[in-house]
Each structure stands twice: as C-alpha cells, then as structure tokens.
C-alpha cells in the first residue's frame, strides 16, 4: 500500500458506499487514513474530508474485482464485518480489501496480518451473535395469529437470522423487531423484507399466550439443579443484556406490548435481583 494520504473518505453508510470508497482510492491512487460513514463522523484537526458519492456501477465493479482476485469468501467476510458494531470497522474493511487485491488468494493464509486478523475477529463476533439471536429470540403469539419478537443485538444481525426462521417456521407469519436500530423484519409465509419500524402498531396478545409463558417460566425454574447453582456460568453463556427480551426473565404482569420498553427493562433486572437473593439465602 502506498503511503497514507491525509484524507478521510466519507460515504453514505451503505455497503455499496464503502465499496465506492475502496474503488476511489484505487482510482485516485491515494490511501485514505480514515474511511467512515458520514453520519456520526467526528472531524479531526488535521485531516481533509472528502465525500465519496455512491455509484452502483463502481460498487459492482469493485465486488467483481475482489471476487476474481481473492475469492467470494473474502467479499462475504467484508459484508459480515460491515454488520459489526465496531466503530472503526470501515477502515479495517478498507485495509482488508486493499490487502486482498494485493495478495489475492494467498490472503486466507495470512492469518497474522493485522487487517486479516481484525476482519476475522469481526466475522466471528457477528457470527456468534447471529447464533445467539437465533437461540435467545422469543416469539409471542398475537391475536391475529402473527408471531412477534423483539431483539436488541449489538451487531446488525437481523438480516442474517431471517433465513433460519423462514425455513423453520415457514407456514407462520412473523415479525422480528430490532429495538436498537428501529427496524422490523416481516415474513408473510412467502417472502420477507426489512422495513422501518417506527409507528408500527401491534395487536394484543393471543388468548393462550399468557398460559404458555407461565408454563415456560415454571419449566425454566424447575429444570435448574439447586445444588449446582452457578450464576457466573449462567451469565457467561447468557449475558444480562439479552435477558430483557426473554420471556423467562420477564415478570408476569408485563403482558401487553403497550407496557413499553422501559418497564420491561426494569422488570427483567428485577427478576435478576430476586434470583441472586435466592442464591445467597441457600
């Protein structure tokens, strides 16, 4: 890579935009110090900023170039890293792509290169959270027969978990709402798409819903072996941050979608505290 140029490339926050930044750096023969999404970018003192326009054609050419030179897997890694919550993900994806164009298929063997390592880390974290979401997500049946779930993952994994559920629950219409990004994925038993979730109106819960929640909570409490209580181990596998969305950690009284996000958060923590007291008195 040529010497870094004292410039920051800003793009519109889409994956195509990021590909355009990489493309532009080749076009202009410069190596930007920073690549970042325009939104939320903090202007540094010494860097010149440059707004890179998103041109779909250039994005496609860049994609093709990477696939031809280094393989499809590299492009997939770039996309998965793009979903990461890491603040400087754009810079690392950019460096990774430059490295891929230089090293070609050898890139996969360069496990000690820092960009390869960082991207591999991001891919692993996104993949891990995807699996956790698939495991920990909890649906509720609504009175119109739609199943509804809320999640709040650190990484933007909503699009990654949809194929699993459309395959598994293929004949059930469902909605998964990402509370952190205010997005919702909708599935109507034929196809799915992601849309903005603001202003989404929810019907009330189905009649049986409360009963099955009660059954599940009872089972959850029953199945633990008290003599082996180990909350540290439990927390390692099931971090507190996910529990507010999970039925077994919510309090019974919260049984209306209108009860709101904050209440639910509080009650989830409340349950936690009770559990801990339980452990201490034993």
């Amino acid at each position: 890579m040529s010497d870094r140029t004292n410039v920051a490339y800003l793009y519109d926050g889409s994956f195509e935009g990021l590909l355009n930044c990489i493309f532009t750096s080749y076009e202009r023969r410069e190596a930007p110090e920073i690549v970042a999404a325009e939104e939320g970018f903090q202007q540094g003192l010494w860097t010149r900023t440059e707004r890179i326009a998103t041109d779909p054609d250039k994005a496609i050419r860049m994609e093709k170039g990477i696939v031809q030179r280094a393989g499809r897997e590299i492009l997939e890694n770039m996309f998965l890293s793009f979903l990461s919550c890491r603040a400087d993900k754009d810079v690392w994806i950019y460096r990774y792509a430059r490295m891929a164009m230089k090293a070609g298929r050898q890139l996969q063997n360069m496990l000690t290169d820092s960009s390869v390592m960082t991207v591999a880390d991001m891919v692993r974290k996104v993949g891990n959270e995807k699996v956790r979401m698939i495991e920990f997500i909890r649906f509720s049946e609504m009175e119109n027969g739609v199943y509804y779930a809320e999640i709040g993952p650190d990484n933007d994994v909503l699009s990654l978990i949809m194929p699993h559920f459309t395959d598994r629950l293929s004949c059930i219409p469902f909605i998964i709402r990402d509370r952190k990004r205010n997005a919702a994925a909708l599935y109507d038993t034929r196809e799915w798409y992601i849309t903005d979730a603001s202003g989404m109106h929810l019907p009330s819960y189905a009649e049986d819903e409360a009963e099955f929640r009660r059954l599940w909570k009872r089972f959850f409490q029953t199945i633990a072996i008290r003599e082996r209580a180990n909350y540290i181990c439990q927390r390692g596998h099931l971090p507190l941050k996910y529990r507010r969305y999970m039925t077994e950690f919510q309090v019974d009284s919260v049984l209306s979608p209108a009860a709101g996000y904050l209440d639910r958060e509080k009650s989830a923590l409340g349950v936690q505290r009770v559990h801990h007291l339980d452990a201490q008195t034993e």
């Binding site: 649906f139 598994r168 029953t222 559990h275």
Partner: protein, 439 residues
C-alpha cells in the same frame, strides 16, 4: 391435576439427566405445512440458574416407576409427588414452546410404569402424535427403556433423531449393588440393537436416498459419577470402548447429587463437580485429539489430577516428547501440545506456509500461550524466561491457584476436594468451567 403442576413434577424428575443436546443432524424445514428444522451443531435456547443449557423440553412421560435404583430420584421407595402426561399434553406443549422459540425440540424419557413395554408404548404414542398429527420436524431425543421389546425400539428409532440408553454406573458391581433391577446385559442389549439399526439404515440410505432414517443423530449414554468407588481410569476405559464398540456419539458424565439418603451409597459429599469437569476434558481428548485412555491414566495412577487438566498432566509426564517446534511439527504433534486445540493447530499449519511463526504470531492465532509456552519452540528458540524443567513448568501451570487460594469460596473447596484426598486448592478458572454448560 393442572398441566403446570404436572410440568413441574415431571421436569423435576427429569432434570438430573445430563444430556440436553440437540446436535448431530442437519435438516431443513418443510414447506408443506410442517413446522421445524434441526441444526447440526445444536442450539441452546436458554441457560438455567445452574449454568446448564436448556435446548430441549426435558420431561418424563411419567415418574411412576417400578424400579428401585438407589441413586435415582424416581425410585419406588422415594416419597415424591407422582404424575403422568398424556401423549396429547406432551405434543401440545412441545409444539407451542417450539413455535415461541423456547426450545429446539423434545427430550422424552419415562419411569417404568407397569412394565418396560407399556412405558415405551406411551412414549411412542406421544412422539408419533407430534410427528404425524402436528407435523413436527424439529429435534426429538428419546430414551430407550432397558427391557423393552426390539419392535418398540425400532418404532421409536424411526421417529426420533437421537436415542439413548443410560449405562447408569461405570461398572457391573456398582450396578448390581445400586440398581438391582438392571444389569449390564439388559442395558447393552438395546444399545447394540440401536447401533445395528443405524448401520443397517446406512446401507438402505445408500440404495434409496429417501429411505426413512433411523436415529440420524446417533445414540448417546450417561453415567453417574461419584456414587460408587469406580476410578477415573475405569470410567475412561469404559467410555473408550463405548465409543469404539457401540459407535456412540457422546458419553455424558453426571456428578452424583444426593437425592435422598441411602446407606448403600458410599460417598455422601455433594456433587464432585470438578471430577466431572476433568472427565469431560479427558473425554474430549479421546474424541478430538487422538488420545487413548491408557495414555491418560493407568492402573497405578487411576485418578485425574485435580490441579491440572488432563492434557497438561499428560504432557508433563511425557516431557521427552517436548519441546515441539511450531514451524516444523506435524498437525498430530501440535494437537498434543497443551494450549493448542484443533482450531489453532490448523491455523498454525496454514499460517506457517507463508513464513516462520514467532511467539507474537501465535498469540494472534489465539493459541493459549499461558499453557503452550512451556512446551514449544519457534524456529528452535524458547520464549524468553522459560526453563524446560518439570518443576518449573508444574509450578507455573498451577501458579494461579497458589497465588489466589483464598479467592475461592470455602464451602466449595471442601466439597470439591474430599474425593481426591489432597488438600491442594483448585484452579479458579476451573470453577468457572466446572458446570457442564454446553457439553
């Protein structure tokens, strides 16, 4: 009785069974009105307060039982509330929990009500209802009951993904003493039957691609640790032969938890969790690292070291094989180094094609250096400050313990260690991992 009370009673009775895995078979969903799919690595939907994963709805069909196995909570002489599910109740609970993504499927076992065949028939009815009427395509793990007729086992095998027969205790003497109604041959017979069923089915599948599958996720078993005087060496040899002769996917070890006092059970301390943890570590060495039971333990050294994991223990006793040079050693040799697992061994082999690796590179490859560093060289050189000497390595590998002995809860210390007749404290790290979790 209300459904919720039944669920509590029959969950309570099932919870001491260790296995809750949903792994071993990959099957996509069905578009024709069916519901469910399975994922080969298994999925854990929640974790209970003891840190164990909850993957399946683990319940008994009934906890009425004619047997009087001393270690079992459901023995006939135990005074506990009894209940029985109807097949319809099981099927409905499973499907409703499944749709809400609470569970990955059903793990159905049963006490022996009336006779083994009757109990098996009830289980078959529940599973058959689930598969055929509710079109459930998710994971089902069913217990085969020793003494049930082969026809029923065959029938269940066609419906379930995984079957298991509990071997219960590690030796025949223990079995005779604590489970008078069971015998080794009675347990091994259905196990062999399932094994043969799987082999036969594989031939059918080669001929007809869509032939119905017989327990596609294989079979597993479980044994109780610490209720009998069997040694770790006996246990590991038993596991080894189960893996070899019966082609089991998994052997589960369950630290004995006293579920009622009984004069025949010699050990009365609470669950020997650390011993269970060490056994799982040794089990992994058998299955993924190419070790043999006789390499890890022997007749005169029959117990696993509570201070060290089995791999470190083995390496220290075989120092003549070390140090290993990471830039030249074969994959198999690398796998034998403590701190290097299958993943990092493969990474090393890949990365060194492009040039020699140094200690810093190994850290980047996520090799566990705090263990590996004593056993490796990079291009002929040791890491700085490392002496290749038994006492130096032993002292360092167990250093965590000696530095922070007080940081462990006292109660646990005594209960963990009483089995091993040493007064050495235990690595704190091991406490964290002590509960089986996803194992």
């Amino acid at each position: 009785m209300e459904l919720i009370d039944k669920l509590q009673i029959l969950g309570e009775s099932a919870k001491y069974d260790a296995a809750c895995t949903s792994s071993g078979v990959q099957r996509g969903g069905k578009r024709d009105g069916g519901i469910g799919s399975t994922a080969a690595p298994g999925l854990c939907h929640s974790f209970s307060a003891d840190g164990r994963c909850i993957s399946l709805l683990k319940v008994l069909m009934t906890n009425y039982c004619i047997c009087d196995c001393k270690y079992c909570i459901n023995r006939i002489s135990n005074d506990i509330p009894r209940a029985a599910f109807t097949p319809e109740e099981i099927a409905r609970l499973t499907i409703e929990f499944y749709k809400r993504n609470y569970i990955e499927g059903l793990f159905l076992s049963s006490g022996i009500i009336r006779n083994p065949d009757y109990a098996m028939e009830q289980m078959c009815r529940a599973i058959s209802l689930l598969r055929h009427q509710y079109h459930f395509n998710g994971y089902i793990h069913a217990k085969a009951i020793p003494g049930a007729s082969p026809e029923l086992i065959q029938k269940m095998g066609m419906l379930a993904d995984r079957m298991s027969v509990n071997i219960e205790l590690p030796s025949e003497q223990s079995l005779n003493k604590l489970a008078p109604d069971k015998s080794k041959s009675k347990i091994l017979k259905p196990m062999a039957f399932i094994r043969d069923g799987i082999t036969e089915n594989q031939h059918d599948l080669q001929v007809y691609r869509h032939a119905p599958q017989f327990t596609p996720a294989g079979q597993s078993t479980q044994m109780i640790i610490g209720a009998t005087p069997d040694t770790d060496f006996q246990i590991m040899r038993l596991s080894e032969s189960l893996y070899q002769k019966y082609a089991l996917r998994r052997v589960f070890y369950s630290a004995y938890i006293p579920v009622g006092d009984h004069a025949l059970i010699p050990v009365d301390q609470p669950a020997p969790l650390l011993r269970e943890h060490r056994l799982y570590q040794a089990d992994w060495l058998l299955r993924f690292y190419g070790f043999k039971a006789a390499e890890i333990l022997s007749e005169d050294k029959p117990s696993l070291d509570p201070m060290l994991d089995p791999k470190c223990h083995w390496a220290l006793n075989n120092l003549w094989m070390f140090p290993v040079d990471v830039n030249r050693a074969s994959l198999e040799t690398l796998l034998r180094v403590p701190g290097i697992g299958p993943t990092s061994a493969r990474r090393i082999v890949t990365a060194r094609r492009l040039g020699p690796l140094h200690f810093d590179d190994l850290r980047k490859l996520r090799v566990v250096m705090k263990r590996a560093i004593y056993f490796i060289t990079c291009s002929g050189k040791y890491a700085e400050g490392i002496r290749f000497d038994y006492r130096f390595i032993y002292a360092n590998l167990t250093a965590d313990t000696r530095q922070h002995p007080g940081s462990l809860p006292d109660v646990r210390n005594t209960e963990q260690l009483s089995l091993f007749s040493t007064n050495q404290p235990v690595l704190q790290e091991d406490y964290m991992k002590c509960l089986t979790g996803q194992m």
